[in-house]
Amino acid sequence: MAGTNGFSVSGYGPQQRSTMSRLMARDSVVRRLDWPILLSAVALSMIGAALVYSATRNRTELNQGDPYYFLFRHLLNTGIGFALMIGTIWLGHRTLRTAVPILYGISVFLVLLVLTPLGATVNGAHAWIIIGGGFSLQPSEFVKITIILGMAMLLAARVDAGDREFPDHRTVMQALGLAAVPMMVVMLMPDLGSVMVMVMIVLGVLLSSGASNRWVLGLIGVGAAGAVAVWQLGVLDDYQIARFAAFANPALDPAGVGYNTNQARIAIGSGGLTGSGLFHGSQTTGQFVPEQQTDFVFTVAGEELGFVGAGAIVLLLGILLWRACRIARETTELYGTIVAAGIIAWFAFQAFENIGMTLGIMPVAGLPLPFVSYGGSSMFAVWVAVGLLQSIRVQRPMSA
């Protein structure tokens, strides 16, 4: 991982030093990394590994007889994600800035690919591409990143160049258009959860870009109107409407649509203060909660680790987001601020929606819990995002 020059910001390390001393130097990348974020992300991934293992070790119909199947893959995904983070830091978010159009193009292409016969349907959402060998890809996860990067690139261009104080209307419209294209496709899948996250990302990006209040408020208005329109025009599938109905009234059909939320809440509620102990949750062992290694992984924490463990997950997410907010505020270039804010909006909303649905305060939407849920695409995407945050911090101008 010791690149020749990638880790040191140009202008700060002119002379060659030994790898070790460069890593340990006051201005070194390693020293400048945001360790709380990194450690939180690693901790969340490891907790996730334990929870995924607990949820899947007995599920012979899923794990093909190997109790470690999901554990191994989760760790592998985490490793790959970690490598992607290092790569992202190594490249630097500014370098990536130049590649944004390409990345954006690739991600939109992949999303479109889902609509072709190559796409596969899981849980009612046609959001996957089956690669083969048991691997699959969920392009909407990567689109989240490219939307952030693309919009940030457009919105920050003239501001960072010093031309303007705030992005003008034209730029804002361009940026919105850039986000709208993949969002429409994802909407068609339909992967409503991801669309909701993307809307929040767009909001976070606009908010942090300094775009006029009218845009921000307007977008909120359009979002609300859009939600009503979607509901009224019947764009939603029956299963999605049923999920919302079950959210509004969980007792509606406890054996049917309300089943997930009901069982999830029983699992979490029965955990109490310290939980039943890892691998000892009866709800988990009894497989009463569906999708427990992915979307409902938080219920395992709730039941087996109790308020202490589940609270720790929320706390770790809080540390990560808190530090990310600091990065967004401390970086002086708008591009970095916008990227960080987009990531914050993404993580915050996705975590809130995911945990909230298991706690019965949000409707059920198929979204993974960042770092914790089993799932390659999501894991890669969130680690790349961590890489971006680190890069923004590492590359921010030091106060002279």
Partner: protein, 726 residues
Amino acid sequence: MTNIPETGRTPRVQIRLIVLQILVLSLLLTLGGRLWYLQIRNGDEYAKEASGNHVQQVVTPAVRGSILDARGVPIADNETRLVVSASRTDLMKMEDDGKGVLTKLAGVLGMAPKEVEEKVRLCDAKTPQPCWNGSPYQPIPITDEATPKQALQIRERGEDFPGITAEPTAVRRYAGPGNSNTAQVLGYLSPVTDAEIEKAKDTESPYLRSDQVGRSGLERTYDQQLRGKAGVTRYEVDNLGRVIGRAKSDKAEPGANVVTSIDARVQSVAEYELNEAMKAARHEFDKNTNENYKADSGAVVVMEAKTGRVVAMASNPSYDPNAWVGGISGKDYAKLTGKNSNYPLLNRAIQGQAAPGSIFKVVPTTAAVNAGYPFNGNYDCSSSYSIGSQVFKNFESKGYGPISLGRALEVSCDTVFYRLAHEEWKKDGGLKGHKDTQDWFYKTAKQFGLGKETGIDLPNEVTGRIPDRQWKQRFWKANKDAWCKAGKKDGDYVQRLSYENCLEGNLMRAGDAVNYSIGQGDTLVTPIQMASIYAAISNGGTLHAPEVGKAIVSADGKQVQEIEPKVNGKLPMTAKTRDEIDGALAGVATRGTAAWRFGGWPQDKIPMHAKTGTAEVYGKQTTSWFATYTKDYSIVMTISQGGTGSGASGPAVRKIYDAIYGLDSSGKQDLKKALLPEPQKALPKIESDGSIDSPKIKPYEPNKEEPPAQQELAAGLPTSTFTRRD
């Protein structure tokens, strides 16, 4: 890139970033708060719901307690049978849902494969019996009559019979010690119904799906004590019902044993002699109907006079209580309850009611004394008594001239009581009665405990009936429409009766009052009521609520809860009156209507008191009643359509006494042969392990010898009189 201009952050962006940070913080706080609410505040509730989710219970039935006789001889206990059961949970895991195993099993058990399959299928709306009505997690019994060889085959080849068990299991057995049967007193068990489970759900002793419930007799009265508490093994299951672990389990607590006051030996004698008496009656010719007596049913009660405890209670026809064990077959059930069955399930000692005839006369005697007629006054025992155009005849128009009430009891003179009843009826205002009627004869009957349950510890006792003015009114209201419709002034007897009843069935006619005074008319009593009345006369006047249960002994023998005799009240008579009646009843046995049945009886050692009764029932042959007591026991026997009291029931009652006291036919007592010369006071000995000592008992050997010819009769009544009517 170092030349990026230090634009400085515009306040707008900075403020918005803080807004974003606050938003993020509030989202996370919301999650934390909700988490606290669910896990800490409502955690217990959800924990409960979770355990309900994934715990399945398997019930180990408690061994039902035994029912023992007074000396500890089990009359209802459990025997071990080899029960072959199938676990549905295991069968359903197999690829063919266990079909192969069941077919193999059918081969071993010698059953048809279809029969076995039907036993393990679950009952639902579309599945007719046979099917399994219990929990699918419960092992389902396929047969309880497996031979040891079959059981061994199944157990030794366990790998061939996965999910099949052959276990010795406790099954109810009615042992019938000493050839006793005691069927109606013991009652029977049958599986609990859904409605009962629902009803008992929130009570102290809820039912389990597998429970057998006492349906009648002692099994029902003491069901709760006998049943014990079933053990529950709780298995954790997953969402598909597969067992994944074991949760907290409760061990089965065996039911308590119930010690009764029944003496199996006396019971056996009573049953045998009742049956013999009925058989004998069927050989007797009834001059009134010109055919032999039918003797269709009968009952006998042997009661401890001082406590009201029941020593023996037999009802005929009877049945084998073991027919219910392991589920009764449709054929057997029809035999026990069908129209032509003569209802052997009825316990006629407490559920059979009939007019008492002359054994009732102790009541009007007491009533007369209480109304102010001196016991030793002179009352005209004329051959008949006329009220208007109606003539009420004494039995066989026999007259005795002026006699005392005591003598009237001895010779069972009807006209004495007719006259008294008519006089009282007139005093009370006749037909309609005036404001303050005394109704001595009715009031006294009620004070004797007639017209209501005695409160015996057996279910579904009937009340009998005292046809007083209030009852007549109620009865008329309920029936007048039917009477008025059917009645005809010049029709046959029934039509004329209906006609009369329609007009004035609500009124107390002189004839009603007169008929009632000798235990006829609408009067109804049960054998148990009469037994407790005669026991009360014996013991000095205390009416007990009869009891069969004597003590409840916990399975480990550590807790013994005695059931004390219960007092219902006092007979409404002074000690003097009691002594006078007692004397008269002794006279019945020595020189009155029952004397010819007590030839050779050692009256000086064991004073015998008796009263005979022959009740007329319209359209049927006469009911035989015989009520007796000594200082320790009272025995009442009745035979429906059996003839006279002393004629049909006399010998049987005498033989029961002979067996109890160890008397031979000449009246010589051999205490070694006596079954129970004194009532059994002590409870059977309980061993430290909870088991109860039970003496061996021999079947009853009836004494075929007839007692010697009757004693000399002081009154010198011709024998023929006794053979027909008392």
